[in-house]
Subunit: 207 residues, 4 copies
Amino acid sequence: MTGTKERLVDAALTTIKEHGYGGTTARAIAGRAGVNQALIYYHFGDIKNLLLAALDETSAKRMLSYESLLEKTETIDDLVQLARDAYREDLAAGHVTVLSELIAGSLQHKQLGPEVLKRLRPWIDFATRSIEKVTRGSALEQLVPARDVATAIVGFYLGLDLLHQLDPAESPAERLFDHAARLTPALGMLMAFGTVENETERPPAST
Amino acid sequence: MTGTKERLVDAALTTIKEHGYGGTTARAIAGRAGVNQALIYYHFGDIKNLLLAALDETSAKRMLSYESLLEKTETIDDLVQLARDAYREDLAAGHVTVLSELIAGSLQHKQLGPEVLKRLRPWIDFATRSIEKVTRGSALEQLVPARDVATAIVGFYLGLDLLHQLDPAESPAERLFDHAARLTPALGMLMAFGTVENETERPPAST
Amino acid sequence: MTGTKERLVDAALTTIKEHGYGGTTARAIAGRAGVNQALIYYHFGDIKNLLLAALDETSAKRMLSYESLLEKTETIDDLVQLARDAYREDLAAGHVTVLSELIAGSLQHKQLGPEVLKRLRPWIDFATRSIEKVTRGSALEQLVPARDVATAIVGFYLGLDLLHQLDPAESPAERLFDHAARLTPALGMLMAFGTVENETERPPAST
Amino acid sequence: MTGTKERLVDAALTTIKEHGYGGTTARAIAGRAGVNQALIYYHFGDIKNLLLAALDETSAKRMLSYESLLEKTETIDDLVQLARDAYREDLAAGHVTVLSELIAGSLQHKQLGPEVLKRLRPWIDFATRSIEKVTRGSALEQLVPARDVATAIVGFYLGLDLLHQLDPAESPAERLFDHAARLTPALGMLMAFGTVENETERPPAST
DNA sequence: TATGAATGAGTTTTCATTCAT
DNA sequence: GATGAATGAAAACTCATTCAT
């Protein structure tokens, strides 16, 4: 059959999104993929490997698109915009759910933890770079430890996703992004302020 | 045996903290409680009920202590302090983990979702009240939709807990709280600015 | 159900005798015992444990009866007689087969080896004691290293059993025992020769 | 690939020696041979056939060398020497293990039995001829039924091998051969004796 | 209340084998 | 000759749950 590995990866993703870590059994995955259960083991060795391969795949795809978005991002406003779009798509597509379920599942299967962490780090790195890019040269640069904030934001996404799973109807995220968008001009001013004292040593990010 | 129900509740909590939702089987719980598996069904009907009872129990206990802490909380500084203490204890004690594992497990067992949500709401309410209390009468009151921020904070806790499960070593939360503490005076000033009418009745948070 | 453990032990013995180590699956055992497969794990933890418990049981039973036979054994003739009877019953009842299959299976499941060895030793000890008893004070006592010969005899039983499995029709053992019986008087004479000091206390094996 | 059949035969032998009959799966064999699993079926039809082919191969090789050794064997002393050397090499090389595992496995797969027996007979024949050669014309010739003793010896080898698998450290065989070597002169004398008296009347085995 | 035993459906994984290329 | 992919059956074992006592 053509693309069995791809079918399995897709099926694994869909299944974990719909039925969670515990519901993602060999039978469920293979059933959805329309292939024999044994093929999971033929192609991936075991279920955990398939799950990690699935995580790799989504991660890689999304990272690519976000990297290209980041290139066009210059200001905090842009970044909030990017964050909002990312949130919308990731939540809707269940990307974050895959991650949060795998993390939650790591408590049961301890070997999973390090592997998932390895795949989470690029996202924290990406968020760090994003923050650094838009705060570079401003007062915020000193004020805000980029990596910590980045980690916090990634955690925030994970948590919002958990809440969204519980209660898909009431998502505060959209409203919060709106608020954030309204507040960023203030932040921008703050940044400008901060940049005054800084001006002699370092020019502002955008000349 | 005396206190079998309590033993089971305790065992269920410990087990879910250590082995996650999927690892919390009847055998594991009963084994840890040192009682017969069948007693789970005698006392709680099924495992999900035991888990929910366990969630009820921790929730109630913690809510009580937090309520009394909130009474002494007046300013944003106080609240950040409260949040930091809450975070420390909840994380260390695994309270949040119980919640995040149950939410993650809700994807697998759909009936769990509504029940967990029911038990999560009091916390969002509590956070909402906390925010309202410290922003009442200030500019922030209008600026910040208390309930959305409260939900966001609860989500944030959940997410940080997931990250902490993955990588207990690197927890950005403590550092973030420190930063927040350093920033709140500024926020306090912002609030003072905004609160024209309020000024007579209540002094700004930081003099 | 009454005697489930006993039924399982019996079924395990019968199954290994009939279908060998590899054919002794949970399904086969439980099927023969007429009980649910899961009871194997409830009562014994895993299949290997059941197999070892089964070995324990037969071993204990047989050891008892052989011990009492040994008490009545005084001469080499008696011992050859005992060996022949033991061989007949053990082979017919498949006792040795259980052992040889478990040893052969130990190559596949390495953890089995030490456990089986632990249960084999009492038999080598028994054989050693038997030999020592009938050779004590004779020339053979010095000539023959009792433990080595005992080990050899146990090995011999195992090997004969393997051959018997292959070709139940042609068993040389019976004929060999007949020969041995005919030769022992000569051995007895040899012993009498060697035993100068012994002569007064104990009459030679064959009068 | 060159010599695929040979590689498979070698791999099958090594695998059965190391992991026993039950551990000798298509995957294990092919993996060790470094070839595709399907080639087992292409070249040998099924696993059992490969195993039998492997047995054929070792058997043939060893038989050749033993035949040439037998030619130089004239006395019982020589024969004990030959037996000891054979034992050492066969045990070390695992030749006997292949046989004992296949016999033990025959209980599970009944079709295997006759085939293995067919390949075992030449060895019993060889042992018979060896015994006959060194006892010819002596008293022992009548005393000892060569074929039965030969069968017994083959069984003995099998049994010793089983024991050796269980406890490679303590092998009584070497010590026993030493003893046998020390005893054979006596046997030789017995033979000489017997041959003299034999010539005239020959006394019955038991008086 | 409590227990030991039981059950049937489920889990992950491996097996020997086949087949199209 | 050789390979990668596929398959259905079976392996060992665990699950939540029930029941008689």
